[in-house]
């Protein structure tokens, strides 16, 4: 999962706590004992990470499936 995981639409969202727009940031994700890093929309203040619907149901679901069968 690379930078294409961050869409312009995602960056319109604002972190309510910090009142800052989300930015592409490097985030570590984990599944089935596999850890890796990827770019995701993140709050530069508190680290809140947004997963969009299209990412969750598309790329992320695909990678989950691959890791489940690994």
């Amino acid at each position: 999962m690379k930078a294409e995981n961050v869409s312009p639409e995602d960056l319109q969202w604002v972190c309510r706590k910090c009142n800052r727009p989300l930015e592409a940031g490097t985030v570590s994700v984990e599944y089935m004992g596999n850890q890796f890093t990827t770019e995701l929309p993140t709050c530069p203040g508190c680290g809140f990470v947004l997963i969009s619907e299209s990412l969750a149901l598309g790329k992320m679901a695909e990678v989950e499936q691959i890791l489940e069968d690994k």
């Binding site: 969202w13 604002v14 309510r16 706590k17 570590s28 995701l40 997963i51 969750a56 679901a61």
Partner: protein
């Protein structure tokens, strides 16, 4: 599963066994493939099939006596396929180019005495193996005995053309040789490494070789060895008769023996299938209309191209696939149990790389229909369940396969639903009603009416046990969890003073019968039938219904009978589906197929629904809901016995969504506890008070994604508490997430004075490290 178990399993599936025609053919021509090509007009492919097995297809294809015909399955529905005639038609078409590449020279010579079909075949086979062949023919032309066949089926030109092919190999032909003197044989033996005697027309009266009482040279019927070392024979009229294919076969078997003799390896090992053998392949002729053979307009010249194609089209293309025919799951994965066993074995033994068969293992409904229809009782469900258990033990279960169902089961076992009570005012229970989780999820009102009815109708007290039988854990291969559930049920049963359990759900009934044998259990339907409950109302003219037996009743004909008697008592005409009772089909829910493979589950339900235009009558809540979810009009037996007072048409009642199913269970417990036992339920949790506003299309989407309203409430509650959310400045919508179990649920919502409008919800299993978690 170890290698040995795998092989035993593979053996059991007969799909790859030879068809009767191939098994009957002395040289095992793949007649099924050949006829298939002919039927499709693929002449050059048909040629290739013959060429693969037949020596000299241009000869044998014209004169083969086709003993295969006698065992052709078509005999049971018309005349046997005229395979010999089809071969003749095939070899009359222009042959494709064949390139024969012999093995490298073995620097050994073999004498072939005589050139009947057995001798020519032995020469052909051995020359291709790299031996030098010397043919000694007493006549003036090669293939002497064949030329005397007074049959215009084998024209001289065709014979010459085929024999010409020997010249591409290391074969020397000596014609007009006097082979009869005693010296001749001795010379052959001393100058060659082995000798083959083509006995179609050479008597060898003077040879020094053992003979039987009738004067025939003694030839071993299997190895085709004579009594002299290194000398083999075939084509003897007393053995091969006048059968050309048998003559060719004897040459082939002798060639195999000679090769092994010269290589100094076992002559006998692995030759059980030399010659005709019995095959285990089963082919059903159900629904096959009888068809007579196609007659050639000119019998002398044989089939025309078109006649051959129509004759070949009668071929049944014998195969078993009994299980695949009745199972959408087995069909979906494109093969049959023999292949699946191998795939599942590989899936288990893989160390690095992808486990390709996870979906195969987890999609089976475990219904056992395959075993019932298999001539060899192959049980795919056992194979899949074992594989799931093994995955669980090795920690390799894909969480997406079963987790939602297991969460749902845990809900049913939690205080939110579980309830164990004697009947109000009673301290003893002769019976305890166990309605099961899915009936309560689907028709809580029916459960209430039924329980009141049982309390009134049965003596000795009828307690109540709300909970789950543990089937989801059993199906998921989670043995430890299943045993814990079973043990809890046993303890609850003990606590009620060991009553007889009344199971409304056939899955619960089966789980108890198989795993809690000490707990006496009766199916609700048998109990109602035996006790004449409820009083019959004999509806005046009910439309006939098609009975769909739940797959878990497969081994329990008594339960199936009771249901039919109840229907009869109510005066409801019944139609039996073609697959019913011990051959009933799963609705698509069983074995957690619905969880692991929702698309397939829908297909299974839709396929079942199409088997009759009548409304279905079933006696499992999950079957009813699965069928209803694909638009089938389906009734639960309780809809007839205890009709809902609201008069809603029960056959079109939609399947309640996952959220509704849990809420129905929780509400049922709360209201029963309140109404019957006066127990006040604990106050609502704060998050439960969150009001959701969900449009119907969003509700359907969320249900398909298996996200519960309860999960959504938790997300919103946590988000509003913590403020950890993203806001869209233009729309004011909020996105927030929460991870209640091994999945993160996201909700996009808008707070309004009336409640929270949910725009969408979705989930992922991957965990964002350091991201928002609770």
């Amino acid at each position: 599963m170890d290698q040995q178990q795998l092989r035993a399993l593979e053996q059991r599936c007969i799909q790859e066994e030879a068809p009767e025609c191939t098994a009957a053919c002395p040289i095992h021509v793949d007649a099924r493939a050949f006829v298939g090509h002919v039927a499709r007009g693929e002449w050059s492919e048909a040629w290739k099939v013959l060429h693969k097995t037949m020596p000299f297809p241009g000869i044998l294809g014209r004169i083969c006596d086709a003993p295969c015909r006698q065992r052709c399955k078509r005999i049971e529905a018309g005349d046997p396929i005229q395979i010999g005639e089809l071969e003749r038609a095939c070899v009359a078409t222009p042959p494709p180019r064949f390139h024969v590449q012999p093995l490298s020279s073995k620097a050994k010579t073999i004498a072939v005495v005589g050139s009947g079909l057995s001798g020519l075949t032995a020469a052909w086979d051995l020359a291709r193996k790299g031996y030098s062949i010397r043919i000694f023919e007493p006549g003036t032309k090669l293939g002497g005995p064949l030329r005397s066949i007074r049959d215009r089926r084998l024209p001289e030109a065709a014979l010459e053309e085929e024999l010409e092919r020997l010249s591409t190999l290391d074969v020397t032909v000596h014609l007009s040789v006097d082979v009869e003197p005693a010296d001749f044989l001795e010379q052959c033996i001393s100058e060659n490494n082995a000798v083959f005697l083509s006995l179609e027309n050479a008597s060898g009266r003077n040879w020094d070789i053992a003979r039987d009482d009738a004067g025939w040279i003694i030839v071993d019927p299997m190895l085709h060895s004579t009594r002299r070392a290194g000398v083999y024979g075939g084509g003897r009229p007393s053995m091969a008769g006048l059968s050309p294919v048998w003559q060719a076969a004897e040459g082939r078997w002798a060639a195999t023996s000679i090769d092994r003799f010269l290589q100094k390896v076992s002559l006998t090992a692995g030759r059980e299938k030399d010659g005709p053998y019995k095959t285990r392949l089963y082919t059903s002729l159900e629904g096959v209309a009888a068809l007579p053979r196609v007659a050639a307009a000119d019998p002398e010249s044989g089939y025309s191209i078109d006649e051959a194609i129509s004759e070949a089209s009668r071929c049944l293309q014998c195969e078993c696939l009994e299980c695949v025919k009745v199972c959408a799951y087995l069909e979906r994965f494109g093969a049959y149990p023999r292949k699946y066993a191998r795939e599942i074995y590989n899936n288990e033994s893989i160390v690095m790389g992808m486990r390709q068969a996870n979906k195969l293992v987890n999609s089976c409904s475990l219904c056992g229909l395959c075993e019932r229809v298999c001539p060899e009782d192959f049980a795919v469900q056992d194979l899949c369940l074992q594989a799931r258990r093994s995955m669980v033990r090795r920690g390799k279960v894909p969480p997406s396969a079963h987790e939602f169902a297991l969460q749902d089961m845990r809900f049913s076992l939690s205080e939110r639903f579980r309830l164990v009570r004697h009947a109000p005012g009673r301290t003893q229970s002769a019976h305890a009603f166990f309605p099961g989780c899915q009936l309560c999820a689907s028709s809580p009102g029916q459960v209430k009416r039924l329980y009141r009815h049982l309390m009134e109708g049965l003596s000795g007290g009828t307690g109540l046990m709300l909970g789950c039988c543990g089937a989801p854990a059993f199906w998921a291969g989670q043995e430890d969890e299943f045993h814990r559930v079973a043990e809890e049920i046993r303890q609850d049963w003990e606590a009620l003073g060991r009553p007889r359990l009344i199971a409304a759900c056939s899955t619960c009934f089966r789980m108890f019968a198989e795993h809690l044998p000490e707990v006496p259990t009766i199916s609700l339907w048998q109990l109602l039938e035996e006790n004449g409950l409820p009083p019959s109302f004999a509806s005046a003219s009910h439309r006939p219904l098609a009975v769909h037996d739940p797959c878990t009743t497969r081994p329990y004909p008594a339960v199936q009978d009771a249901v039919r008697r109840l229907l009869q008592r109510q005066g409801i005409p019944v139609e039996e589906l073609s697959l019913s009772r011990d051959k009933t089909e799963c609705c698509g829910f069983g074995g957690l197929m619905q969880n692991a493979n929702p698309d397939l589950s829908r297909e299974v339900a839709a396929r079942r629904a199409r088997t009759s235009p009548l409304d279905f009558l079933t006696y499992c809540a999950m079957c009813r809901d699965s069928l209803a979810s694909v638009g089938k009009r389906a009734l639960h037996l309780l809809d007839l016995l205890f009709p809902a007072p609201d008069g809603v048409e029960p056959a079109t009642r939609p399947r309640p969504g996952w959220s509704e199913r849990q809420e129905n269970r929780a509400r049922l417990k709360d209201s029963l506890a309140m109404e019957l036992w006066g127990e006040r339920q604990p106050a609502m949790q704060a998050y439960e008070r969150i009001r959701l506003i969900i449009a119907p299309e969003v509700a359907r989407l969320i249900d398909r994604r298996r996200i519960l309203d309860e999960d959504i409430r938790r997300v919103i509650f946590a988000a509003e508490e913590s403020g950890k959310v993203a806001v869209h400045p233009r729309t004011g919508r909020i996105k927030a997430c929460h991870r209640p179990y091994r999945a993160t649920i996201w909700v996009e919502y808008s707070p309004t004075p009336e409640g929270y409008v949910v725009h969408t919800a979705y989930s992922h299993r991957m965990e964002v490290m350091g991201g928002p978690r609770r």
